[in-house]
Symmetry: D2
Subunit: 315 residues, 4 copies
Amino acid sequence: MELTIGVDIGGTKVAAGVVDPDGRILAAAKQETPASDPQATEDVIAELVTDLAGQYDSVSAVGIGAAGYIDAARSTVLFAPNLAWRNEPIKADIEKRVGLPVVVENDANAAAWGEVRFGAGRGHSHVVCVTLGTGVGGGIVIGEKLYRGQFGIAGEFGHMQVVPAGLRCGCGNKGCWEQYASGTALVREARELASSGSPLAVGLLQLAGGSIAGITGPLITRAAKDGDPAAIELFEDLGHWVGSGLANLTAALDPGCFVIGGGVSDAGELLLRPTREAYHRALTGRGYRPEAEIRQAELGPEAGMVGAADLARLA
Amino acid sequence: MELTIGVDIGGTKVAAGVVDPDGRILAAAKQETPASDPQATEDVIAELVTDLAGQYDSVSAVGIGAAGYIDAARSTVLFAPNLAWRNEPIKADIEKRVGLPVVVENDANAAAWGEVRFGAGRGHSHVVCVTLGTGVGGGIVIGEKLYRGQFGIAGEFGHMQVVPAGLRCGCGNKGCWEQYASGTALVREARELASSGSPLAVGLLQLAGGSIAGITGPLITRAAKDGDPAAIELFEDLGHWVGSGLANLTAALDPGCFVIGGGVSDAGELLLRPTREAYHRALTGRGYRPEAEIRQAELGPEAGMVGAADLARLA
Amino acid sequence: MELTIGVDIGGTKVAAGVVDPDGRILAAAKQETPASDPQATEDVIAELVTDLAGQYDSVSAVGIGAAGYIDAARSTVLFAPNLAWRNEPIKADIEKRVGLPVVVENDANAAAWGEVRFGAGRGHSHVVCVTLGTGVGGGIVIGEKLYRGQFGIAGEFGHMQVVPAGLRCGCGNKGCWEQYASGTALVREARELASSGSPLAVGLLQLAGGSIAGITGPLITRAAKDGDPAAIELFEDLGHWVGSGLANLTAALDPGCFVIGGGVSDAGELLLRPTREAYHRALTGRGYRPEAEIRQAELGPEAGMVGAADLARLA
Amino acid sequence: MELTIGVDIGGTKVAAGVVDPDGRILAAAKQETPASDPQATEDVIAELVTDLAGQYDSVSAVGIGAAGYIDAARSTVLFAPNLAWRNEPIKADIEKRVGLPVVVENDANAAAWGEVRFGAGRGHSHVVCVTLGTGVGGGIVIGEKLYRGQFGIAGEFGHMQVVPAGLRCGCGNKGCWEQYASGTALVREARELASSGSPLAVGLLQLAGGSIAGITGPLITRAAKDGDPAAIELFEDLGHWVGSGLANLTAALDPGCFVIGGGVSDAGELLLRPTREAYHRALTGRGYRPEAEIRQAELGPEAGMVGAADLARLA
């Protein structure tokens, strides 16, 4: 049985795993990311891969998912905001160190691929995955292929403008979708509610031990699941932005299925119900067209690792 | 040499032409569209096709482009706002009458295909065509294939929301791109400028014989080409909306080339220059990514006919 | 006891009443407005006033409230959208016919004055009245005086822009507050909800006998009072727009009290609660400043008549 | 001749001057503001006032202008963002130290009063002053009186929301006018243009010695006056936001005259021309109403000192 290794490089952790052809993770390991030092980051990747590859006979390739722009040849990281990588020839560097063929992919693309192959997107031929985390990432899978665009940078849904002259985005523009639909936006709105002194926010503040900075995404999700009305409302507001953004994507891409992943998606129906409502309201031609399914991702935080490993297998 | 017939069904005219494998129109004919009577519209199509097919030995298939939602099988018009067609089995009906295989396609998709095969999109592997007319239509061509989406309704770019709570659209929603970037928007803004009594609009009003209703798209284009400052400014404003919309499409689709067609594109650089500027300003990750070319369409109003004929040939 | 007559000229009815110095209506009468014929409208006013004045010895003056721009001398209606009046010298015309001194005032100003003298604004020195009806009108009362502006046209709050490039307003501009905060907006959103086929709207549709056009402002208010969740939500959405608009007015005017009138205000707390919430959230410097009271108007549809009569007394 | 002293407390300097009844400054002095130490700031004020008062026999009162919320009694600074003052009883404290009656006023109010009494607003009975600096401040003068609102906090025009879900403001809200119409906004847009690498910005960058951070408001103004196209365009964009905001203020307040002050107004017609254009376009009821004059302030940075001194004289 052919095995491959998937590596997911985040801003704080590098996670790697040995993955079988059915998307099962046989072994995994993690290390901190020395994010400010590109060379050290490559050292960590090489070490994790070498260790894992040593435990199995049949590891044949490595797939690396990284947040950033990857070139069309899937060899070079053009730009990775959290990793200090600029035009870094990752494929060549890592191949040299580990002696295995390497494929590099954008992390949201890798996660999308994982979900379509082994998770919530299985069986669909036109899938759009949207990852709601610190930002909003995405991936498009058409037929049996990941759609990468002319230059390898497709699926950056989080930077579509949804509010002219709107909130400033880390990318330098104003009004990007991720300023309204990400986990960061969820937490920001919750903290503002709390610092406004609204009685609505009492429950959230108590959970956070009275500290506004203690209000985090997982805490809001837990509160919503326990019925806290403010937390529920925050997910309704978020769902409004998510759903109307999906309607925009439908106008362009007409997928059969959306898969919603990322940490925020742990809220499940608390997020998906208002998302579907807003989607339906905002959809052009509603009533005259079939509508896409909107599903929660199934692979959790391992989606990127599993997807990257599978892309390496198929390369 | 294998010939096919392309038919373009607009709200006012049905145009048909015999097209060769190089996209050349050998013969063409036109009739008025009896838009409110679906049956009569089919009669007109059948008549035009039969006439043209009779003039050439080797006509092997018919492609029909129509404004509306076409099903994924390219057989049935689900909904055509200007043609009173609702779930109309056009493929079967016309095949019965003309004795040739028929393919039905959305008109903007057909035009996009024409431009990629024989016009401004030639040689590009990831092309997004945007048609600026009464509304804003579009088509996506990836590799050598028209991208149609799960249900056949991809490329409806004009109905992506760009202004929350914005101008009411004919589709029922608010703030759709076509309310800001179409020929209709151009004319609306020009007429408002004139009815505001602005001295800027004096030139346009004179050209229109003093009648606000006489200000049309072609008139504004002519005025801009003759240096009228108000007309030039109107195209700059329009280009702002067009360009920022293209930046949104790039975030999702990362094409190598945009082809801008439709009547408004006759303004050429007067529109494309401000479009490119706005595109560049609004592009996420500018400086770290290659940028798509933005080109004027080359086939003019025949793009749909030529594209439909070619799609029929390849079916 | 000195009595005066107040006249309220609406698009459909002319209402007149004899009012005492405590704001009590001693007698009243109504006729249809021949809106398209300025002369006939003056006839109706003169007839109503003559009749009422004949019933009491001590009528000393007449106040006329009309929707439109009134000049700074309170003599001439510059422009009244629903009455075909353009630069109509109402004061002089009516004085000639009825033999009493006449004062002309904008209807929302007259209503504001009525509310401050005898209704919800009593005892406050800085009051802003906002009338939510077909449009959004307003009036400002500072100290013991109606604030009219340099040209007599202050208080047109409904035409402050709240959404750039937003919904088209009857005034020709885009994004005016009254497109989001008026009774017209309430009804529009309700009908859209119903025509979208949302299950939420079932209750409203039933009340309207299944007819979307049958959904009116009073019907939505009744439904909300009976607990219909869609109607309640519609008032919450409306309150959001009303409250954030009041916060804008506070930044400029810092009043001690807002009085909310017009037909929409019949919903009482169903509207005022979300209005206050949105107001508080949107207020600049909240926490460091006292906040204005937001109160429901008390005089109902007679506010304009009572206010106009009182302005005539004080002239 | 009765003299008074005006004090203008900014975030970096305290300026004081002896002012005669015609608004002439007879003597002036300045010191740095120990902004983080409220007590030390009062020391500086007292010292400057005592020095100046010692030079003239006839100083009868002191007026202090400070950025912040001043209570309705003009005695206490409720909140001053840049001065660490919270509920500071300035009037009593300073009176005790200098032995003269003291009046405290918001700085933009004081500047407005100065312009109406001795500058660009002279002779007008309904004046709205707008100060474009770090933020956007304002003052309203009606008849012969400064309008202060119920709680003393009127005229905070910069915090009216003009873009829903728009740019984050320092006040905690989103989309405030001052995020689009202030000097800060001007500089921000210029720096973004430069950091985008646009060839348009070459001139500005050269003037700034190649440093993006070297692009300041005065530099942009100078460039615009020298014909730099990017700088001119930046003022046109700014004028668009300023003018449409003035149109909003007109809908509410209907002034006869706007006075535009603050550092940005040094650009004169480069700013005022596009401001007037946007104002005219955005004005509700244009064509049926007289329009307010829009004038450049005349007193420059001394407006606040002169206005505060005059308010002290009239108290």
